[in-house]
Amino acid sequence: MSKVVIDKSARVARRAKIKGDFDVEIGPGTMINNDCKIVASKGPIKIGANCLIEEQSLIVNNSDKQMVIGDYNYLEVGARIECLKVGNRNRFECKSTVALGAVIGSDCIIGALVQICPGDVVEDNFIVFGEKQKRRIVKSSRNLSDIKAALSTSQAMAF
């Protein structure tokens, strides 16, 4: 049978949906807001520590292998992740989609309404933005401080 292992310090909202036949593991300190869906339909999912997952976002595993999402990731409203490997300290802005087969490194920012095709590799410290999906290197990364501030206020507010 599938297990859902949620750490003690993680906060999962009441209306979040965790579905699927495979294991789901949620690390310490993560916050999962209402109306999220985590679907382990064909393979297990492991979410790292201190992630923030906001409303209407989707994490789906449609492949046989394990899906690993790193620490300190910030998934804004409506983000969809289907790829297998996501690094640490990334920020997925509103309504961005990452297809199966893509690989995302650490310290990246994926802009709003951006769709990353299967087979695409986003290396460390890159921003993907705009209609034509231009990329450039981040000059000074503030992802870690942003998500730490967001996590501290939302933990104090919600519960």
Partner: protein, 201 residues
């Protein structure tokens, strides 16, 4: 008297099921399938329509909705945050009168003034200020902190001025919202024929 029944110029009536919608005293029609968090901090002036699937986060900060607004399905209305050194604070969100917000859009603006038409699948960035009489096309992304001047059309990602609007856009918005609200009527069960006969006697 009123116009002829079944005339072509009048838009058709849209019937909603009385069980899944709430009608308040001020005339708001709010779907029961919408999620309103922190409802004591959400202020809605009369005659707005909130369709199913809408998420309004009033628990983060106060949300003010104007009158005669239409908020279509699956939109998210979320107050933006402001970072100060050492902390993060959520700012209240205000939406003006006669606004139309279409399906699947995400609004994180600080202020949206009156007579604004937001298209489908839009993302309005954090802390942005949208003035009155602005049209935002479908699939646009407004970057955080943008200011939209009045009587403009915004489009693209990042959102830029794409066109201009005539001064009659204000009346267009009033016309659209007021007729939509008038035609958004609850389904009435028909009176059985025996009751009618008794009342005639």
């Amino acid at each position: 008297m009123e116009k002829l029944q079944g005339s072509v110029i009048e838009p058709p009536k849209i019937y909603f099921d009385q069980k899944t919608w709430i009608q308040t005293k001020l005339g708001n029609k709010i779907s029961k399938n919408s999620l309103l968090y922190g409802s004591n901090k959400i202020r809605v002036l009369g005659k707005t329509i909130v369709e199913p699937g809408v998420i309004i986060r009033g628990d983060l900060a106060t949300v003010d909705l104007g009158k005669n607004c239409i908020i279509c399905e699956n939109s998210v209305i979320r107050p933006p945050d402001q970072r100060y050194p050492g902390k993060l604070v959520y700012i209240p969100l205000k939406i003006g009168d006669y606004c139309i917000i279409e399906k699947n859009s995400i609004i994180q603006a600080a202020k949206i003034a009156d007579f604004v038409h937001v298209g489908q699948n839009c993302v309005i960035g954090k802390r942005s200020m949208v003035s009155s009489c602005v049209k935002i096309l479908d699939n646009t992304v407004l970057a955080p902190n943008t200011v939209c001047p009045p009587f403009t059309v915004f489009g693209g990602s990042p959102g830029k001025v794409v066109g201009r609007l005539p001064p009659s856009f204000q009346h267009y918005c009033i016309d659209q919202t007021v007729t939509f609200y008038k035609n958004f009527v609850e389904e009435k069960t028909p009176i059985p024929s025996t009751a009618k006969r008794n009342s005639m006697k």
